[in-house]
């Protein structure tokens, strides 16, 4: 990360060997430069590799910076694009080996890395990951980027675009799963002198990094998706609301906006048509609640980021009181693919009412920590064991936490459940933005519930009473349980309180805050009882000192 300038400037850092080659390229090394690999000195690897290739006089070999290759656990990653050979945990000393491999490459087709981690995935929103240089508009265009926007602007009406999205069955990837086509239509038909498109990149769930990866690996795609959306809903101004904790994503996004503006893909008269659309970046100051759409709008307007009761929904009265389309990063990333390959193609992927693919961030006690995209309806077992490589050290699987602090824990009995919006809600969880935190027998579920409650009380904006006070009280009760100082009455109070907060809180943060408690109580009540009655923590996480109490 030391490579990154403090203030984001739209100056593109040139990849070392870009100017060296003449004629056709025989082999190319793709170095992952997303945040995870960058934190493991990927930039140094790129530089070393470039130097060494130059020294070795390999004129037909390039070294290229690309977006996330997915397998974050094994970073820094270098891939030889022609053979699919993947070098993991590359140290600067390993670079010689990569150069030797590059020397042997025969001119064949580009292939993706092998193995179940890559083969079982289906890439739509992340199709350019690991292929394009996220800081090069030319590279994006070279891979077919902006072709869809050109075609949409030239050949389609906005109603046709909305219809295509509606028929694709795409639903909001921010978590709630609201039908995207319906939202677009509402905004398009709402009365307003000015309409806005906002991209919600305020990703704050613990363990989730889907939006960050998309912005870091393929920022132009978001700009293209937003431009198509703006055309479909008659908007001319857009905002990307990104959290300031993602400096690399913000840097690449800003660089992308500048170069897209220069190339006529943003601004007045996009792609030589009469369509105008421009995008600005707004940074969040670290409040989780600003991912809630009304709080986000307040924050963009320069006010305190607190939610307000809906209706009116932003689609009718949003930013500065005008109709506003707010979609998540991943939703926008799906848009160009849907319009390029058709609604029928997209609708053919998936399961039940959940069409298409979903990006998940695998985290926790899992071997292949990283970013994956799978068709909706894949089973949890396939995601955790086939793609994720199973639990670290072969320990038993206990639960997977999805949906962040508003989500829940799914126990082992549902491993063969097909993952989609509805099935997760059925088992008391929530697809959320796509964070999957895998837990083994070393996790105490009461402690997990307490962790999420602590997160919620810390992130409560303080506006409505049930969330401001209730989240702290729930945390206090959970803390009491984990210290072995609670009674069964306290558990009853906790359950009553959780139900009240869920029903009365103002926004999704408060309404969802009790969910981790509900789901752990539903599947792991015995653990609560062990803490309360036997005063032991079965997983050995909570420090309970056995004390005799008079009761």
């Amino acid at each position: 990360m030391s490579e990154m300038p403090a203030a984001a400037r739209p100056v593109r850092r040139r990849v070392v060997t870009e100017e060296l080659h003449e004629g056709p390229i025989r082999a190319s090394a793709y170095v992952c430069e997303a945040a995870s690999c960058m934190s493991a000195q990927a930039a140094e690897i790129t530089a070393r590799l470039g130097e060494l290739v130059a020294e070795s006089g390999l004129g037909d070999v390039t070294v290229k910076r690309v977006g996330c290759l997915g397998l974050c656990a094994a970073g820094p990653l270098v891939e030889i694009a022609q053979t699919g050979q993947l070098f993991e945990r590359v140290r600067p000393d390993d670079v010689d080996g990569i150069v030797a491999a590059l020397r042997d490459v025969k001119p064949t087709d580009e292939r993706r890395p092998q193995g179940p981690f890559f083969e079982k995935q289906m890439r739509v929103a992340t199709e350019n990951f690991g292929l394009v240089d996220p800081e090069s508009l030319d590279d994006y265009v070279g891979r077919g980027g902006y072709e869809t926007l050109r075609r949409v602007l030239a050949d389609m009406t906005s109603a046709e675009v909305r219809d295509e999205i509606t028929r694709s069955g795409l639903r909001g990837r921010g978590g709630a799963g609201y039908p995207t086509g319906l939202k677009w239509t509402t905004v398009a038909k709402a009365q307003g002198s000015q309409k806005y498109v906002i991209c919600n990149a305020d990703e704050g769930d613990p363990g989730a990094f889907m939006d960050r990866s998309v912005l870091e690996s393929d920022p132009y795609r978001i700009l293209e998706g937003m431009a198509i959306a703006a055309f479909a809903v008659h908007a001319t101004e857009g905002y990307v609301y990104c959290r300031a904790e993602y400096p690399l994503a913000v840097y690449r996004l800003r660089a992308a906006i500048r170069s897209a503006q220069r190339a006529g893909f943003l601004g007045a008269g996009i792609a030589d048509t009469s369509f105008n659309f421009d995008i600005q970046v707004r940074l969040g100051a670290g409040a989780f609640v600003c991912g809630e759409e009304t709080a986000l709008i307040a924050s963009v307007e320069g006010r305190r980021g607190t939610p307000r009761p809906r209706p009116p929904y932003p689609a009718v009265s949003g930013l500065w009181g005008q109709p506003t389309l707010i979609n998540n990063v991943e939703t926008f990333a799906n848009v160009p693919a849907i319009l390029r390959r058709g609604a029928e193609w997209y609708a053919s992927i998936g399961h039940g009412k959940s069409r298409g693919t979903k990006v998940f961030a695998l985290a926790g006690r899992i071997v292949n920590t990283g970013l994956v995209e799978v068709p909706m309806g894949m089973t949890l077992r396939e995601i955790v064991y086939d793609i994720g490589g199973g639990i670290i050290g072969g320990r038993p699987f206990k639960a997977v936490q999805t949906g962040g602090p508003s989500g829940g824990c799914i126990p082992a009995q549902f491993l063969d459940m097909e993952v989609d919006y509805e099935s997760l809600i059925e088992v008391g969880s929530f697809i959320g933005s796509g964070g999957l935190i895998v837990m083994d027998d070393t996790s105490c579920m009461v402690d997990v519930a307490k962790y999420f409650q602590d997160f919620c009380r810390d992130e409560s904006c303080g506006k409505c009473t049930p969330c401001r006070v209730g989240t702290t009280q729930m945390w206090m009760l959970l803390d009491q349980i984990t210290r072995g100082e609670a009674t069964l009455d306290d558990l009853a109070t906790l359950e009553r309180l959780a139900a009240i907060v869920q029903k009365t809180a103002l926004c999704g943060l408060g309404q969802g805050a009790p969910n981790p408690i509900f789901s752990t109580l539903r599947y792991f009540r015995d653990e609560y009882m062990a803490h309360i009655v036997d005063r032991v923590c079965p997983a050995g996480v909570c420090a309970i000192t056995p004390v005799e109490v008079m009761a």
Binding site: E459, S460, C464, P466, T472, I500, T504
Partner: protein
């Protein structure tokens, strides 16, 4: 021309004009819905959650103060479930900070106290938070005791919307949320405060009070509105 809608609240047929809220119509018709953050004449924010009502056809509760009426709406403003929620919310407000009525200037003149009485809140089950909170007595006429503040933000809104001074605002978040004067400086040092006393007048509890009042002598109803305007005008020789 205003359209008039008819709707049903707690089984009673009532009517209201199109821009009215459920709360407006309920109160016009003598149906009492408890509120704390609502105050006639300033913008609603739907934050205290006491006025939550059920609307037939929606599975979510909605704040009556911010829900515009529509034709044929069926509202349940009172039910066992709603009573339980309202009691719990009032209880939360009591245990959030340190409300000790016996030593409070607003004892017997307190809307929080009245609400608790009205809802039949007799004891507290929820854990007490008992935070350490400050008192700002730097203003020469008034004080603020944050122990008694329930964050209804009537002071913030009345100062901004009626007085136009916007001295009050909020800082921090969650349990640490506090109302503040100017940019968090002591009230007495505020350069924007006009000492009009509107905030004191609208405060539902004893958080904002006039200096020199004894316990339970903080009545706000039996005196002329904003007497301090006169004091300040005299001081400035106006």
């Amino acid at each position: 021309m205003t359209t008039v809608y008819t709707l049903r609240i707690d089984g009673r047929d009532v009517a209201g004009s199109e821009d009215a809220t459920v709360l407006d119509v309920a109160r016009e018709n003598g149906i009492d819905i408890p509120t704390l953050c609502h105050l006639d004449g300033i913008t609603d924010r739907g934050a205290c959650r006491l006025c939550m009502v059920e609307i037939t056809g929606s599975n979510k509760l909605t704040p009556a103060c911010m829900t515009k009426i529509v034709e044929g709406m069926e509202v349940t403003a009172h039910s066992d479930r709603l009573l339980e929620y309202r009691r719990a919310i009032t209880e939360m407000l009591f245990v959030e900070r340190n409300h000790i009525c016996a030593v409070c200037v607003a004892n017997n003149h307190c809307e929080l106290q009245d609400t608790a009485e009205e809802l039949g809140l007799t004891h507290f089950d929820l854990p007490r938070i008992s935070p350490k909170v400050d008192i700002d007595a730097s203003h020469r006429l008034f004080s603020i005791d944050h122990n008694r503040c329930i964050l209804c933000l009537r002071c913030v809104r009345v100062c901004d919307e009626i007085e136009g001074a916007h001295t009050w605002d909020i800082m921090h978040r969650g349990l640490d949320t506090r109302v503040q004067t100017d940019m968090g400086i002591p009230w007495g040092e505020s350069t924007t405060c006009t000492s009009c006393g509107k905030c004191v007048q609208v405060c539902p509890t004893g958080a904002l009070f006039e200096k020199g009042r004894a316990v339970a002598r903080g009545s706000k109803t039996r005196r002329p509105f904003l007497p301090w305007m006169k004091v300040v005008a005299e001081e400035r020789g106006l």
